[in-house]
Every structure is written in structure tokens, then in C-alpha cells.
């Protein structure tokens, strides 16, 4: 039957699609677009602290701070972190409210390769701000072998 041949070919095609080990900058832009939509993102009042040269990609300290009065009327709702070349562009989303007092968060991330890290802050008035940093990684976060 024609349909079974078609199914076989479709299956063959699907098995040939190899999932890339790295995401691409385009995948990161897509992930960012899912958060910000079509809004304009200005690059101010956000500081992204990450070492420019990292020896071990398995443990990269990262601090994001957004200048904000953190009042009911004007506060940071969320900070999103993205990477360009990790298998997934999303790293984390941190959600705040006026009760947080300070729009600041610190954590430790994995980086698979030398790449750009982007932090996007979502403000209570619906606007977005961002900061980016280039990080050189000498020992990548391992993808093989357990």
C-alpha cells in the first residue's frame, strides 16, 4: 500500500534527524522571544556578574542584579537567564515581588562551551531590560559518560 510506504519513509526520515548537541544562537533568540514577545528590550540597569574566563564549566557562579526600587508600583517581576550554546537555551527563571526587597539573585550554572550568557529582567510595567556577558570556558560541562 502507498500509505505504509509513506509511513516507512516518514519513520526513516525521523530516525535520521539527529538532535544537535548544542543549541544555536537562533534557539536562544526563540526562547527569549517566548518571554518578551515583541517588546523592545533595553540594555540598562541590569548587571550580570560572571567571570569572563571560566576553568570549569560545571560550576560557574553567576549573579544578576537589577536596579529597582522594588515597590508595589515599580518592581522586577522576573529575571530569566539564557545561554547561547547549551543543549537547552533556558537556564532558570527567578520570580520576585515587592516582598523581595532587592531584585538580585545569585546561583551556579553549567556552561558547555565558550558562549554568551543573557539575563532578561521583566518589570512590573511590562517593559524588559537585559544584560549579556561573554564567557570563555576552558573545561566544558561534560555531556558524555556518567
Amino acid at each position: 500500500m502507498d500509505t505504509s510506504r509513506r509511513l516507512f519513509l516518514a519513520g526513516l526520515g525521523a530516525s535520521l534527524v539527529v538532535r544537535p548537541a548544542h543549541a544555536t544562537p537562533a534557539a536562544m533568540d526563540e526562547a527569549i522571544a517566548r518571554v518578551v514577545g515583541t517588546a523592545r528590550v533595553s540594555a540598562e540597569r541590569v548587571t550580570l556578574e560572571v567571570s569572563p574566563l571560566v576553568e570549569n564549566g560545571n560550576l560557574v557562579p553567576l549573579t544578576v542584579h537589577v536596579e529597582s526600587p522594588m515597590t508595589e508600583a515599580d518592581h522586577v517581576k522576573a529575571i530569566h537567564v539564557f545561554t547561547e550554546k547549551n543543549p537547552q537555551p533556558n537556564v532558570a527563571a527567578f520570580r520576585f515581588g515587592p516582598r523581595a526587597g532587592r531584585a538580585s539573585v545569585q546561583t551556579r550554572i553549567r556552561l558547555v562551551d565558550t558562549q554568551t550568557v543573557v539575563a532578561i529582567a521583566e518589570l512590573s510595567d511590562g517593559s524588559f531590560r537585559s544584560a549579556r556577558a561573554n564567557v570563555v570556558v576552558t573545561l566544558a560541562a561534560c555531556l558524555e559518560e556518567g
Binding site: Q88, N90, V91, A92, F94, R95, R99, A100, V105, T107
Partner: protein, 106 residues
């Protein structure tokens, strides 16, 4: 039971912004790694961390595999009243840990 550590100041002045540090033992297996035999290692991560202050949510984090093993998160909150901060981590395969800390506000 995974070991979780939280660092909250025991005392604070009313209105003061206090820093909270949290650390939990967890491998954060990405799901992208393979064994030497080529078998994929299934993903096992903490997906969500929530902090509530006397029942009100003050901070929440959605985590992905790119968070390093033993997730360490530092954030802050305004010391509004004496009470309890409850920290909750939830993740794959029914992982759930709750820890609490008391704070006295003067």
C-alpha cells in the same frame, strides 16, 4: 532525604532587606549525558524552588538542567514580621524537600 541547608539571619530590624542563602544536595542530572555503553542517562533535576514567608510567596525559581549540581540560590526578602520562612524544592521522580527557618523581627 536530601540534605538542604538554609542560611537566614535569626534577627532583623523591621523593614530590613535580609539575604537568604540556600543549598541542597542533588545531582541535577541533565538528561543529555550517556554512559560508556551509550545508554542515555535519564534526566533527574529539581524543577522548582519556592520560598514562602508566613504563608506568602516571596521568591520562586524555575530551574533547568543548566543549573549546576547541588543548586545554590541566594536571594533576599524584606523582614516584615517575626515568623517562619518555608523553603520547598520539587523535582523529577517525586523529589520533594521542605525546610524551614525562624526569623525574629524587632
Amino acid at each position: 532525604m536530601a540534605r538542604a541547608l538554609v542560611n537566614v539571619p535569626a534577627r532583623a530590624r523591621r523593614g530590613e532587606v535580609v539575604e537568604i542563602k540556600t543549598l541542597i544536595a542533588h545531582p541535577m542530572e541533565t538528561g543529555f549525558r550517556r554512559t560508556q555503553l551509550g545508554e542515555p542517562i535519564p534526566r533527574d533535576i529539581i524543577q522548582r524552588f519556592v520560598c514562602t514567608y508566613n504563608g506568602v510567596e516571596v521568591f520562586r525559581a524555575d530551574l533547568h538542567p543548566a543549573i549546576a549540581a547541588n543548586p545554590f540560590i541566594v536571594f533576599s526578602t524584606v523582614a516584615t514580621e517575626s515568623g517562619t520562612l518555608v523553603f520547598e524544592w520539587t523535582g523529577d521522580h517525586g523529589f520533594a524537600v521542605t525546610q524551614s527557618a525562624a526569623i525574629t523581627v524587632e
